[in-house]
Symmetry: C2
Subunit: 278 residues, 2 copies
């Protein structure tokens, strides 16, 4: 690694989804330490296996910081009891994010409740849900990062699908809420740059990297390693930083192909590609 | 069919993609006549098999009108020769649309040229391409309908992905260009209703129907029969008509599942579902 690349390298964060099929969280943390990756973003299933306190301790040992906790959200549900359960789960996630000192809690807000075609209603449930946990998040010092997901996930995962839509919600909710900008979800958006500028430094809470493959063979688990697809990653990375973002470059690759590769090699490739094309 | 439903039924159009694996165009036209479907939208592969003149004659015999010809577009390409070929092909499509008396020529504008990551450049090629054929379309009396495709097709099929983006292009191009609004492509868009209003009667040239299945198992050929998915079709149909649209309700279902069904049954189902949920 050329010394000129050190600042870039220091931004790299491993989202645990990238090697979720190969390693548990302890193995991931140790691998990051071995390979000189100084940031991580755990998913909660992995975190729950290891426990938040033990994870925090292990991260301190290895001087690894947490770029985000994935994920809260999933607010829309068919009845009030289920919506209350989601709110309780989000409070727990906020507490865990605080324990880890995470830069933010990423919110994948949820899609349509089962059997529903009421998209306007689902979006209102998202606003109501975030409102219900926002004071708790503010008290805990955990910024909430609404992650707009690609429109192909609108029905079943996330009914917030553009950066501007997320920012409209931020405007309604007030301080303590921003956005997680994932290139996979917004690269196609003709308004993305305007939206990144609109967000500004204070609301750009996370930046996620992978690539869009051509062809894409699966809606969920065919995301690409940076450089293997068609997203102009370096341009977008420079744009978001010109808009004031100073946080991590978090690599999150949901890919049945990469889940079948030796995870040490996955991390090596992540590091190389981050330097080469991001 | 209740007489109250007759106006709705008269709007129904069969996009030939819906039964493309089972029938040729002559069979489709005869089936529409049998089942009382008075409008059709041929794809050009089927049209080329039968020929535009013979098709026009057959349609007159059965008193079936053409809600649109699918499709022109595919403008971005790696070199000028390929872009010129696309323009020539679009002129041919305009001529065929005129021969058929089609309500419009639908444009699926194309994605990134092979090997390119320059989305801004691709979108400029689209504008340039439409500009190059627009006078020909105006002379022929064929409105050009830009069809924004779902963002999941941005890379490989269509880099125009929202109604507003298409309308921005219409604004730049002037008269003779409007949009084809397909529910599958825009149902998720938080701004779709504002955009339909912005389009208005003069630029709402086509309205396509199918449904979004949960889960969706394939990006291209897992579209749903109306009523089998989660799109609030009746609301959207009423909204677009409240915005001034008076044209066909064109059913276009790309579905490996429905392509394996007896096509006569597909048409029966299309008619029933159009009445029941659209």
């Amino acid at each position: 690694m050329a010394s000129a690349d050190a600042p870039l390298r220091s931004k790299l964060s491993l989202n645990t989804a990238t090697v979720r099929e190969q390693w548990n969280l302890e193995q991931m943390i140790e691998a990051c330490a071995r390979q000189g990756i100084s940031r991580i973003s755990p998913w909660r299933d992995k975190l729950d296996e290891l426990g938040a306190d033990k994870t925090a301790s292990l991260l301190r040992t290895h001087d690894i910081s947490v770029s985000g906790l994935c994920r809260g959200g999933m607010f829309p549900a068919v009845d009030q009891a289920a919506r209350d359960a989601a709110i309780a789960d989000n409070r727990k996630a906020i507490d865990d994010a605080a324990t880890l000192g995470a830069d933010c809690l990423v919110l994948v807000v949820g899609g349509l409740p089962s059997g529903s075609r009421d998209l306007v209603g689902a979006r209102q449930m998202v606003l109501d849900g975030i409102s219900a946990v926002l004071d708790h998040a503010r008290s805990a010092g955990v910024p909430l990062a609404i992650e707009p997901l690609h429109p192909m996930y609108c029905a079943d995962r996330c009914c917030v699908n553009t950066l501007d839509q997320a920012l409209d919600m931020c405007d309604q909710l007030g301080h303590g809420v921003g956005i997680a900008a994932d290139v996979y979800h917004f690269w196609w958006d003709p308004n993305y740059l305007t939206a990144l500028k609109r967000a500004g430094k204070s609301r750009l809470l996370a930046f996620h990297l992978c690539d869009w493959l051509v062809p894409t063979k699966d809606l969920l688990v065919d995301r690409g390693m940076m450089g293997d697809g068609i997203i102009d990653l370096r341009t977008i990375r420079q744009e978001i930083e010109a808009c004031g973002y100073t946080g991590a470059h978090e690599v999150e690759i949901l890919s049945s192909r990469w889940w079948a590769v030796d995870p040490e090699m996955v991390l090596t490739t992540v590091i190389e590609r981050h330097q080469a094309v991001c």
